[in-house]
Point group: C2
Chain length 417, copies 2
């Protein structure tokens, strides 16, 4: 009689038949005696359709109103899934984010969850109902509807699992787990049975699209046992087998496991690079560049500033490609001349490739192996950034696949561990 | 500086270009100095699409969950309209029913508005914003989402106009006013410049699809000056001219007007007739038949019970065709044998045709003219029902158009009044 959270992506909810399949799977878990909360995404294509409608009216729609429109996709999903469950004789009830309530800040389009009330969830669970909660959405302190950004339903699911202290959060998706890298690029990529929370965090932040990064942060912060598994198995699959499939995100490095040095190669083509050249190197200059960017609510990923020469330095950072134009505009209008920089250089044709592994902590030589491998393929490294368990490089985007394949082989990920 | 409510139907909101047109029209009113609340319907076809999705899962979806799904259409509309208005430089904000809040009972799919809070509306109006409120939807005392039934956005608009004490509620629709009858059936049908509230109530209840009947009831109860006018005129049309177009629903019989005896011929093919035959005629029998129907939340329109013979009587009533099968099932399972009735006869192939006019009060002979006209066309009358200002007959549905044309001519509606 565990309390379990299931999350289903847009593909799983993509048609009436697929929704019936989700309902059958959830019913199986419920009938096995589990208390169930289900968090579905919008039907595949629906969020894009809604956003395209708003953008057809004006290219940059008001963010509050865009959220008003975009969050309806999940509302439709929860209602349809409840209809499907009830048609199977399973008592179910659906809730929008605000009804639960999933409370967020007011950063429309990329809101953060601040709290989740559990009174209504607990009440419905205690009545034996399957509770279906709309992912991706919440409500701000002024009762405005908000959305959490792309992939936000993962975050909703993990945050709800944390709030209700669920035994496990199962993220059903169209891949069957977390791989050493994307199998579409490297045929030898292998599924990991387990991955540590920290590795998963790096993988997610580096563009592995399996889980939204904030869902991994939530999982880590609240120690939510989270599993990524396939939604493509038949709903009538043996429950024990299903429960052990996919990739489990763990919170301890297990002594018994022979720890690979590198767990995976992540990559990302979603970023753009911006360099402000010949900036006077004085205190506060980084803030004077990134302050206006932050105020415009643009997220920054890598930041590089080298040793200055002649009191001048080049300042580089990366942003999401979708925000590249806007970031360039902000810098042109509010920053470049004000700080006396010489020029502004932008490049959207970049890719970031990273080696991630908890084993890196205790091994030297990872960086040099990485740089040697890329060099021997003739790939120039534009930027480098490191953390305790990952090394990332920015390269020209046309070399991305080549770099991923070369690194996957060089770190021995092609062979079963 | 009047406070004005506009309501736009699904056709007016049917595409991005049309939404831009609505925004341009609203902007014109706002710039003329009016304080504006706008109530849009879902984009045309959207509500049907959503309901079809739910019904594809199971033919009779759970009503609460169906409302959860169905009310998203209007939410999309309000967001898109706000986006469009803001793109024209007009400050605007959209609200769902629950955000305002539009409070209703818990009769899912046909909820009734019980109260409308105006704090949030007033605050936004005082900030000079155009306030856009989703029609068709509300929230029940348990924070469940509800819908008001087909055409419910009219009711939302009029109820909101009543709550904020608006000067006028303008219902923009794809016809340019209320006609003596449907011009698609009678080419000579004429637009009425004014119609009394009571006539409009009868016209609406009798199937004239211009306004939902509950919106007319609200308009009457709270004396909301309501105008039905065309949404097909160009948005840049002269405002004074636009404000005087269409049909105004009035609350006084104006002495100065030469009052026509009959204002219009209404008709309705949406009903089905049910007769329980040979019912023992004892106290409580009507209740024992209609009680279970009411409990099943099925609305009944006409009710006929004739003088009994031999202590037995036939009991007939009409319901909406959509609820015909369900009503027959309720009667078969819970009523017929219990009350000792002989048989149950149903007929969905009927039409109701009605003559409506405030002038009928002071004129005799209307009924006889009506019956004579139908008789001379060879049309058999199956049921008759009357009110102070209307006479309705039920006939075989294939004669409906003929009956409407004959009556429109017989009552002199073909000639300009």
């Amino acid at each position: 009689m565990a309390l379990i959270v299931h999350k289903y992506g847009g593909t799983s909810m993509g048609s009436v038949d697929r929704i019936r399949n989700v309902a059958a799977r959830v019913a199986k878990w419920h009938r096995a005696g589990h208390r169930m909360i289900v968090v579905p995404s919008a039907m595949s294509g629906e969020t894009n359709r809604l956003i395209a409608l708003a953008k057809a009216i004006v290219p940059e729609p008001d963010p509050r109103e865009l959220d008003m429109v975009a969050c309806t996709g999940e509302q439709v999903s929860v209602g349809l899934l409840a209809v499907a469950l009830k048609s199977l004789g399973v008592e179910a009830v659906s809730y929008c984010g605000w009804q639960v309530a999933v409370r967020t800040d007011s950063a429309f389009g990329k809101a953060r969850i601040t709290a989740i009330d559990t009174v209504r969830l607990d009440a419905a669970l205690n009545e034996g109902k399957v509770v279906i909660v709309a992912g991706f959405q919440g409500v701000d302190p002024h009762a405005n509807l908000t959305t959490l950004g792309r992939g936000g339903s993962d975050t909703s699911a993990v945050a709800i699992a944390a709030a209700v202290k669920a035994s496990e959060c199962l993220i059903y998706t169209d891949v069957d787990g977390v791989y050493t890298t994307d199998p579409r690029i490297v045929a030898e990529a292998r599924r990991l049975e387990r991955i540590t929370f920290e590795e998963m965090l790096e993988m997610a932040s580096l563009g592995s699209k399996v889980l939204q990064i904030r869902s991994v942060e939530f999982a880590g912060k609240y120690q939510v046992k989270t599993r990524v598994l396939s939604s493509l198995t038949p709903p009538e699959m043996d429950l024990e087998e299903e429960a052990a499939s996919g990739t489990l995100i763990t919170f301890e490095e297990e002594e018994s496991m022979e720890q690979a040095v590198i767990s995976g190669i992540a990559f990302n083509r979603d970023e753009a690079k911006i360099t402000v050249t010949r900036v006077p190197d004085r205190p506060g200059v980084a803030y004077s560049i990134l302050g206006p960017i932050a105020e415009a609510n643009i997220d920054v990923d890598m930041i590089i500033q080298n040793q200055s020469q002649d009191g001048l330095t080049d300042f580089s950072f990366t942003v999401h490609r979708n925000e590249y134009e806007r970031a360039m505009r902000v810098l042109r209008e509010e920053v470049v001349s004000q700080i006396g920089a010489r020029t502004l250089i932008g490049d959207a044709k970049i890719a970031k490739v990273s080696a991630v592994g908890i084993g890196m902590r205790s091994h030297v030589g990872i960086a040099s192996l990485m740089f040697r491998t890329l060099s021997s393929e003739g790939i120039n490294i534009q930027m480098i950034s490191t953390s305790e368990i990952k090394i990332s490089v920015v390269i020209e985007d046309k070399y991305m696949e080549l770099a991923v394949r070369a690194l996957h082989a060089a770190f021995g990920l092609d062979q079963p561990g």
